[in-house]
């Protein structure tokens, strides 16, 4: 089961945090900080997997991916496959890229509710919505919405 999805920038500012078990705000902050301090101590070119029992309890792992100024982080337990989780991040990013055409940190900050909607289509109650339709509802919609905005910006 997936325990949490987080996005934070390289300064450690959370950009999106979703926990699939309820946590108090303080606990969430503590975890976000903890994860960030682990991530920023990782050197380049090492594996994207971490065992972080110390933060999330026994048998919890973390997969992260670093895109430009953002860390994408998935926390999950032993019943998931690490490589698949890594790809789930890829799926998420590709979807966002589709939605926002060249997604950047600002898109994520300002389209908070859309981000959550996209995420809800991919991960649902801590489970991957295992069917992975590339054209699933929401991103398509977002895509349509995003295009005019993008053109307006340009």
């Amino acid at each position: 089961m997936i325990k949490a999805v987080m996005m934070m920038n390289t300064q450690g500012k959370p950009r999106l945090a979703k926990f699939y078990d309820f946590m108090t705000v303080e606990k969430q902050q503590e975890l976000i900080r903890g994860v960030f301090s682990v991530l920023c101590s990782r050197p380049e070119n090492v594996s994207s997997f971490l065992e972080i029992d110390s933060l999330f309890g026994p048998d919890s792992r973390l997969v992260y991916k670093h895109y430009a100024t953002l860390y994408f982080v998935l926390v999950f337990d032993g019943s998931e496959n690490e490589l698949a989780m890594l790809d789930l991040i890829q799926v998420l990013v590709e979807t966002l890229d589709k939605c926002f055409s060249n997604v950047c940190e600002l898109d994520i900050v300002f389209n908070y509710s859309k981000m959550h909607a996209v995420l809800d289509e991919i991960v649902f109650g801590g489970q991957i919505r295992s069917c992975l339709k590339r054209d699933f509802t929401c991103p398509e919609v977002c895509f349509r919405v995003a295009r005019p905005i993008a053109s307006k910006l340009a």
């Binding site: 997997f49 295992s130 069917c131 919405v145």
Partner: protein
């Protein structure tokens, strides 16, 4: 499609202007982004909170504005500030009719509230209404919210509607309903236990997405109870087969891989179902083989599936062919440059090693590379692997490595784990007591505060009991070495408390036993300890007791005791201690010093820490007393269980008769309290001492009753250890390990001569040069490590090693075709053929495939009803197993003709990657380093071994 457009319009409405938010919000985000310190950020957020509080209270806030405020609240809460003042507005927003606002409301509510929050009760009604909505997007939003907001008590309120939605015409709704039901099952299994059949039914859904979603709850159910789902094995296998044959719509592809997440889930389920079940495993073999062939290992997701296959194979009943394929995949992972893949490779190796321990051997260098990798995660995973493959032959190297690593890290959590692993390995496999004590010293020194106290007790026990019955000489040697090592360490600053306790105890017990160290020397050291750690009472207590023992032994042996001045002052200080325990020990010590030799000897006998003490568990010595008490009118003792059992039944009866709910008032009188005289007496007579002092011999005798119980608990581990420590086993291995490494240094030369002798005609200088040329790549240090880790690993594998030992040098000298005549016939067989036995079965299965619906599900014409699907299951369980067993038979028969060994060596070579020559050389060398010489090349090794 229509609905999509609706959403599109809705979303578009919300996203006018730059990023769709007001300038205020943009400014807020920007200023937070530019904040230079946490304090500044807090200030900004606090002022934002003030603004929002004001705005939310204004009358008639336009809905669009309100939506933005809510999103700002979410943002604030994400930054770690309390936004609870706005929760109620989010709740209100869920009541809105506008879909976009409703969704925002639900989003905010799911992020803000937990399932036990007071406001939930206001939402349940809305959710109920929304679940009945005609607009499926509203239903979806409500289902989304359910997953997060419904707790055990509110499940019944929405359950009937969720169940109805399982048959909704939209697949997206069916899928979410399944997920919601799954969530209910996780929250409270009993509430949906009668609905579990729905999951089975939905497995045959027309829509692959719904089918995929069903796998999640089924996985949970199957991991709880495997047996009731055995009938689904063939269905799962056939679904997986169809997925791999790309019979799902293209839209499920991801990086050219058909529905990978469904595949992974299926493999997980199969791993559960196949474990320890022969017939189920056999059904799976073929599709797993296919997967190995088809998986594209160039993409990440392909590797994810490969890894899942490895996991599955390691869990089901092993099949040699599949193990082969899995080993191949693992070697590809390990050879990859990606750390992620290496990690998976190490993990897979750790899984397979349980089934075939020799697999690690061909990857030894890769493993060592991982061990020395700067990547911490990889390192830890590798240590985990080493932990799994530890044997008595390599325990020293592995534990030393672990300790080095343990010293180098700061993460206490992991330090504890690795320390306990060191201890466990040392206890299980220690080659000698000496080594064991040294290792434990190291562990204690660096992680003493983190290890379990039992470990310390075990160590003391071991030192006290030594090798056991007959070897007193060795025992005293062991003790002496322990004492010596402790005296060396004791003056180091800042030792962990637990370690000091062990040191004090051992010094007290055995410090003067050998006569090598004088009593005053030891007692001086002990006083230093008590001085240096004056804030640690436990350590002080141990030190004082140790002093007492030393003086007692002195007195008992008739020598005159000079109490050192610092010791005297210590005693005086402790006599006035605040701790009663220390005070008592000090008084006891003082009293003891005044006694004569005979009295002292009987109080503290020499080396009596492991004397057996008879335990009278029934406390029969109290019988007389009890008899007396009963005669004088006391009630006999009723055991606690009987008493509570009696109360329970009486309660139960009273409820039964009057049907009084448990929280109602009781009208009967309470039973009279029973005086439990015997029990009290026993607690008075047998004082229960602190278990941590259990082996202190100065305790009065009755207390040691308890100590015996304690020690029997602790004993468990050590019993096994002692057997493993049969010394004769070890002396040879330890002495031979340096030998093998020295042999391996010479090995290249040896092979060279062998070749020229054998008439191959290659000059002896050639292998020599190849050896040199490879040297910079493979550090001899590493090779030695490899040899010591993997070297003595498997005697059972001698047959394979012999064959490789035979032909590897030939490969090392390269390009002479004459050297490899024997191997040629086998390599012709390409690796895919090894697994490609399944074609006939594949066709039979697909022809009668009832899951054709899956293929044609986009045709709206093919609809399917629940009744038909159950028939489908019946079909499966009949037909599929029969066909597959035949294929497995043929598989086994092919194995039995002895081509196994050859094909394996072939595979290991072909999988070396692009740089094959280098790899071969590396491989050859490693084999010589790590492999024991055996029959294939007898003359060669004879002269090396003498």
């Amino acid at each position: 499609m229509e609905q999509l457009k609706t959403i599109g319009r809705e979303l578009a409405m919300g996203s006018q202007g730059g990023f769709g938010q007001s300038k205020e919000f943009l400014d807020l985000v920007k200023s937070i982004g530019e904040a230079r310190s946490k304090a500044e950020e807090d200030r900004i957020v606090l002022s934002e909170i003030e603004i929002l509080k004001r705005r939310l209270l204004e009358p008639d806030v336009p809905k669009r504005k309100m939506k933005e405020y809510i999103i700002r609240l979410v943002y604030i809460e994400m930054l770690g500030h309390d936004a609870s003042f706005g929760y109620i507005h989010a709740v209100k927003m869920t009541h809105d009719d506008n879909l976009l606002l409703k969704r925002t409301g639900y989003l905010a509510v799911t992020l803000f509230l937990n399932e036990d929050h007071d406001l939930i009760i206001l939402i349940v009604n809305t959710i109920q209404k929304d679940l009945r909505s005609d607009n499926f997007l509203v239903v979806c939003a409500a289902l989304n919210a359910i997953c997060r907001l419904i707790n055990e008590e509110t499940i019944p309120a929405v359950l009937p509607q969720v169940v109805d939605l399982l048959n909704h015409q939209k697949e997206a709704v069916r899928k979410k309903a399944i997920m919601a039901l799954h969530r209910f099952h996780r929250k409270s299994p009993s509430s949906v236990s009668h609905l579990i059949s729905n999951f089975r039914k939905r497995l045959c859904d027309n829509d692959p997405g719904v089918m995929g979603a069903t796998l999640c709850p089924l996985f949970d159910l199957i991991s709880e109870d495997v047996t009731t789902y055995k009938d689904l094995v063939s269905s799962f296998v056939s679904i997986l087969k169809q997925v791999t044959e790309r019979r799902l719509p293209k839209s499920y592809d991801y990086h050219q891989m058909p529905a990978p997440f469904i595949q992974i889930k299926l493999l997980k389920i199969m791993a559960l179902l196949g474990s320890g079940d022969k017939s189920a495993s056999e059904i799976m073999y073929m599709v797993l083989g296919d997967l190995f062939r088809k998986c594209d290992s160039s993409t990440n997701i392909g590797n994810a599936i490969l890894y899942e296959c490895i996991r599955c194979i390691s869990s089901i009943l092993p099949s040699p062919k599949l193990l082969e394929a899995a080993a191949d995949a693992i070697s590809k992972f390990l050879k990859s440059d990606s750390h992620n893949l290496k990690y998976m490779g190490i993990d897979g190796l750790g899984r397979l090693i349980k089934i075939s321990p020799d697999i690690a051997e061909q990857h030894q260098l890769a493993v060592i590379d991982c061990l020395e990798d700067p990547d911490d995660t990889l390192k830890r995973k590798t240590f985990e692997l080493l932990y799994k493959m530890t044997k008595s032959s390599n325990v020293e190297v592995i534990v030393d490595r672990m300790i080095d690593y343990m010293i180098s890290i700061n993460d206490n959590h992991y330090k504890t784990e690795i320390a306990s692993r060191c201890v466990e390995l040392a206890e299980q496999f220690a080659p000698s007591n000496q080594w064991f004590i040294q290792t434990m010293n190291k562990v204690f020194e660096h992680a003493g505060d983190l290890v379990n106290i039992k470990v310390a007790h075990n160590l003391m026990r071991l030192i006290a009991e030594g090798f056991g019955e007959d070897d007193d000489d060795a025992d005293s040697k062991l003790r002496l070495s322990a004492v010596e090592s402790y005296l060396k360490i004791i003056s180091e600053p800042k030792l962990p408390s637990l370690f000091l306790q062990v040191i004090s105890w051992v010094l007290g017990e055995y410090g003067t036993a050998d006569g090598k160290y004088s009593a005053s020397y030891i007692s001086g050291k002990l006083c230093d300890v008590a001085d240096a750690y004056s804030s640690d009472e436990t350590v002080k207590g141990y030190a004082v007791s140790a002093l007492m023992k030393i003086y007692a032994f002195e007195i008992a042996s008739g020598r005159k005791v000079d109490v050192l001045p610092e010791c005297q002052s210590l005693i005086e200080e402790l006599l006035a201690s605040h701790s009663t325990d220390l005070q008592q020990r000090a008084y006891e010590l003082q009293a003891l010093l005044a006694l004569d030799a005979r009295a002292v000897e009987s109080i503290i006998p020499l080396d009596a820490s492991c004397e057996d003490i008879e335990v009278d568990k029934d406390l029969s010595f109290l019988n007389g007393y009890i008899q007396q008490a009963i005669e004088s009118g006391a009630q006999p003792y009723i055991s606690e269980r009987e008493r509570s059992g009696m109360f329970e039944t009486s309660d139960y009866h009273s409820q039964d008769h009057h049907e009084v709910p448990s929280h109602a008032l009781r009208f009967e009188a309470y039973e009279l309290p029973k005086p439990s005289v015997p029990q009290q007496a026993s607690t008075e007579l047998v004082p229960v001492p602190e278990p941590s002092y259990y082996s202190e011999p100065h305790q009065p005798i009755p207390t040691s009753l308890v100590s015996e119980r304690d020690s029997s608990e602790i004993k468990l581990r050590l019993d096994g250890v002692k057997q493993k420590w049969g010394r004769p086993n070890y002396q040879p291995t330890t002495s031979s390990s340096p030998n093998t490494s020295s042999i391996s240094q010479q090995a290249p030369n040896g092979t060279a001569t062998q070749h020229s002798d054998g008439g191959v005609g290659s000059s002896s200088s050639k292998p020599q040069s190849s050896y040199n040329s490879k040297k910079p790549e493979v550090d001899p240090e590493k090779q030695r490590l490899a040899a010591s880790l993997f070297g003595g690993s498997s005697s059972s594998r001698s047959d394979r090693k012999s064959s490789s030992g035979g032909h590897k040098p030939g490969k090392g000298t390269a390009n002479k075709p004459t050297t490899i005549p024997k191997e040629n016939p086998t390599p012709v067989q390409p690796p895919p053929d090894l697994l490609d036995l399944g074609e006939p079965t594949a066709t039979t299965v697909t022809t009668m495939d009832p899951f054709k619906e899956l293929e044609g599900l986009l045709d709206s014409s093919s609809s399917q009803d629940g009744g038909g699907s159950t028939d489908v299951m019946g079909l499966y369980s009949d037909a599929a197993p029969v066909t597959t067993t035949t294929s497995v038979d043929s598989l086994l028969s092919e194995l039995s003709d002895g081509s196994k060994g050859n094909s394996r060596t072939y595979q290991s070579q072909t999988s070396k990657g692009p740089n094959s020559k280098e790899a071969l050389e590396k491989d050859a060398l490693v084999r010589q380093m790590g492999v024991n010489p055996t029959s294939q090349n007898p003359t060669l090794f004879k002269d090396l071994l003498g």
